[in-house]
Symmetry: D3
């Protein structure tokens, strides 16, 4: 099984999806950012009172899903019909977990859009908290599931929540 982004001579190509059918596509990606207790409490309290850190990160993540084809060289431009970012505060681990859900009707999947949205949301959390904690770590960024298209459904059973993070 080979790379679909390379032709027979090893050239980078944007995969030709001209012959593929238009189907309903969706993908969910997740990731998390771990931080110090001091920093986590500031996000948590800030969130409760003002919604700011996660509010800004939510907007950044949604906007990033729309910019994916500008960032990832061989990605196709897609007209997303849905883009959502949700956060979960993991008190025990002092971590913020993000989930990005994206959908479109098109000839190619939206996995990269979901992963890009999740990642930029986490980078924005880093940006807004780095005055308190520069040692934050982003981890466990992966595709949770995707549906639609020729390759069909994918559900990431290996990545149980809380594991290998």
């Amino acid at each position: 099984m080979g790379f679909t982004h390379m032709d027979a001579n090893g050239n980078a190509i944007m995969v030709d999806v001209g012959g593929k059918a238009i189907t309903q596509r969706m993908a969910v990606a997740t990731g998390r950012i771990g931080m110090s207790e001091e920093c986590f409490l500031a996000v948590q309290n800030g969130t409760a009172q003002k919604g700011d850190v996660l509010g800004v990160a939510q907007v950044a993540g949604i906007m990033a899903t729309k910019k994916t084809s500008e960032l990832i060289p061989l990605c196709h431009l897609l007209n997303l019909t849905k883009s959502q970012i949700h956060f979960r505060l993991c008190e025990a681990e002092h971590a913020v977990e993000v989930t990005c859900t994206v959908a479109c009707e098109g000839k190619t999947g939206v996995e990269m859009e979901a992963l890009t949205g999740a990642t930029v949301a986490l980078l924005t959390v880093y940006d807004m908290c780095k005055a308190i904690d520069k040692g934050m770590v982003i981890s466990n960024v992966h595709l949770v599931e995707k549906h639609g298209g020729k390759s069909g459904d994918f559900v990431n059973f290996n990545c149980k929540k809380g594991e290998n993070e």
Copy 2:
């Protein structure tokens, strides 16, 4: 110690750096993507023969450092004087590790540029390999060191290489 991205009323603001001195800034960020053995070998062999997967990801990472202020809402636009992406193949773990080094002369640091470059390079590796392995995981994305500016030097001693990844 509070958030610098919020004013007293909890509004999101781009921090006023007008009074700060222009100093030499640099930052290094890293991260990694773990994959199946089949996928890792394809990257490794592809790299040896054609340079493609990592070659494209390198360009994507460099270009992303220049787009940081468009992605991270409260980031200042900076004129980077240097932007480099390097990869290390970790055979034992079937992982690709990226290091992004960025520099500028300015009033604010380049931590976000280094983290954004590293992350987008890893996302591009995901994109180019996802036909082989959709279960890849991006992890251990963090700031390695930064220099310059009022807050001075930061070196991330907690994140020893090879640990908590």
Copy 3:
């Protein structure tokens, strides 16, 4: 009646339009910029002789309609089939009035594209004339009409031309 850009928990979301039908959409927006007599005459004469101020503003407005989803966080990306900017010189009031007409075939309307095009065209007039008059005022920016989609036709009967500007 509630906000469609928020879910039940008050999170910002890009509205899911996946289930909506693709219909023919169009929208018209308008707005105006008032200026000093000296400035108005310069635009008017410049226009007659060279076409420049309004010519550049026209290009800026058309290009802005294509950038709407990058500017307005929760807007969907749409493939516009039509984008037009027209100006009317209002001699009596020393004002330039812009009309932006946009169309597409899609699952969501083009109101924001029309409003963004009109606004950026007016901002460009401001930019090109500000050496003469910094006191210009942009006013009466509103949707004139929109057609297509589930919510059907909208015509703004309240905003008669020349009124409340």
Copy 4:
């Protein structure tokens, strides 16, 4: 007094600022959006509970100040040192008033950045509320003051608040 954006032959040019001194620049712009009582109450209550409409518009306005030179054809790219968006709810008129404050150290002023930030923030309010009220009107967008540069200070005394809106 002529246009600085045109040469002697009427060509559009980006003004040559090479010979100008680098000085501290700042500008403040304002504008407002009027809406129905139902819509105003939804913004007001939404704001009190969740901060959403104005929170998203605030991020959009800040990001737009950084995109000004992409939107306004003859604007120079500037490295903003400060960008802030504030809202005021005008209960009597059912209007939201925005103020955008921008600063940089450079060879040319930041008037267009302040006006663009204010305008895009208002357009975002429109976008998020248009399911409730499509008849909203953006008005009274103007420069409040600017400082720095060869043309010196400008304060807009003609536009008293509450007037000609």
Copy 5:
């Protein structure tokens, strides 16, 4: 026969393609960059060993095809289904020839996308080689063929390869 980008009053317009059918579109464009022998050998050897100059130019060309509607004011945004860049080293003339092939399903053609991809790829070659040779010349950029749409097939028989370059 008149310009389709102007209305009856000479205004620039984005052509209304709302009534056109969605058909399969493709276009091929080419161009070349001539350089000194020293520079050509460096590209050729660099390519053989590392793939770098042409590898980076290939990515740049593909990404540029996706940015066409941002660069060419009256171009429609299209969702490309295919975008490829290939190079041919012309030893006799010390030139690099690029071919860009683009396809989509849409209401308007992809000629501009193909030409933009070819041109940006050549500009990137210039950028990466200019330390060796600043006198390089880009020439013979033209449309080779296009298919689909109301105007049907076009094949550029006048531009035989190797001629008038």
Copy 6:
């Protein structure tokens, strides 16, 4: 003499200009587009009456100089202080010649900005005239001169006007 865009291992890098002095930079680039007589007359007459084709192309070229670092992967972001596009109608050859002049104060040159501005202006002419003539050819795009920086002055004496086009 080697490539400055590659390190010792053949990796693409953005050249480190951190140690370079800030000097006054300028560059001039040119290029031309040849077309059928019918098409040339339409441009010429259109220009005389309305300024449209060349007016739009002028705006496109200026805006493109500001986008150069987004298009050319290893280009540094620069704050241009000047950007001008001029056209010359070459009646004898039915060609339009463009000249793009760009300046900045910075650590690296503006050759790529001048070349990008010239090229995008020519592509825009192509776009606006392609309904009349699809066989147009862009040729003789090259750097005319550049000044400032460590490598000093460069004047392209080899490219006499009218030759090898």
